[in-house]
Amino acid sequence: MNFEDTLAKMLAAAKTATGTHWKDMSSYLEDEFARAKDEAAAIAMEVAHRTKTPEQAKIEMEAIEESLRDVRLAATVDVKAAAQDAINAALDVLRAAVNEAAKVPIF
């Protein structure tokens, strides 16, 4: 039994598990930042053209600011999910290696 090889396999399994999460989170963040910029600009234009009052705009900008905090919360769940998948994938590799070496399921 080669446990050095097992470490490499554990890392590879963990990396594969986190890859999907990272791609999802990255595109999610990019999309939300781009939207926030456009929305803030649009609200400013609406105030400039008296479509809405500055008081309304102030409330709506506060809503945008708060919503970006929710993006952070959602991204936190992404990171936790990635860690969960990575650790469980690595544990599966380790479990298989240990049980194979022991020739009985001990882990």
Binding site: A36, M45, S67
Partner: protein, 138 residues
């Protein structure tokens, strides 16, 4: 090893239904503006029907919160739900002051998307490979 609470189909469905009801409301009440900020389609002023919508939306969120609070490792979802409730408060406050536009709901939309994103992540975790445990020696 679990860092994120399990996927809950009821919460996912409720979040999607709330989003749909919100969009239907906004189509009726929110004005549309062009890139210069001028109104190209008028919406509706705050009225008793709008007040009912905001109250029902907050009630739906409260029901979702009751369910989410029962689960461990669910702090982010609980906070997002509390923020969704506040976003309806803000949209209503703006609506009471005057005409709302699609952009008035930008914050609410983003918070709802955060809630839906969390549901998607949980669904993905639920369908990905689950950790296995050793069988007891026979």
């Amino acid at each position: 090893m679990l860092f994120v609470s399990s996927y809950d189909e009821v919460t996912d469905r409720s979040a999607n239904e709330l989003t749909t009801r919100t969009e239907i409301f906004l189509v009726r009440y929110a004005a549309r503006t062009d890139e210069t900020g001028n109104v190209i389609r008028s919406g509706k002023s705050y009225d008793s029907e709008a007040a009912s919508f905001y109250n029902e939306a907050r009630g739906t969120v409260d029901a979702m919160l009751l369910r989410s609070e029962q689960k461990e490792k669910n702090e982010e979802e609980i906070q997002i739900l509390q923020d969704v409730r506040q976003q309806y408060d803000r949209l209503e406050a703006s609506h009471r002051l005057g005409r709302i536009t699609k952009n008035s709901a930008a914050g609410l939309h983003r918070t709802l998307r955060a809630l839906l994103h969390v549901q998607l992540v949980k669904k993905h975790l639920a369908t990905s490979k689950q950790p296995t445990t050793a069988s007891p020696p026979s």
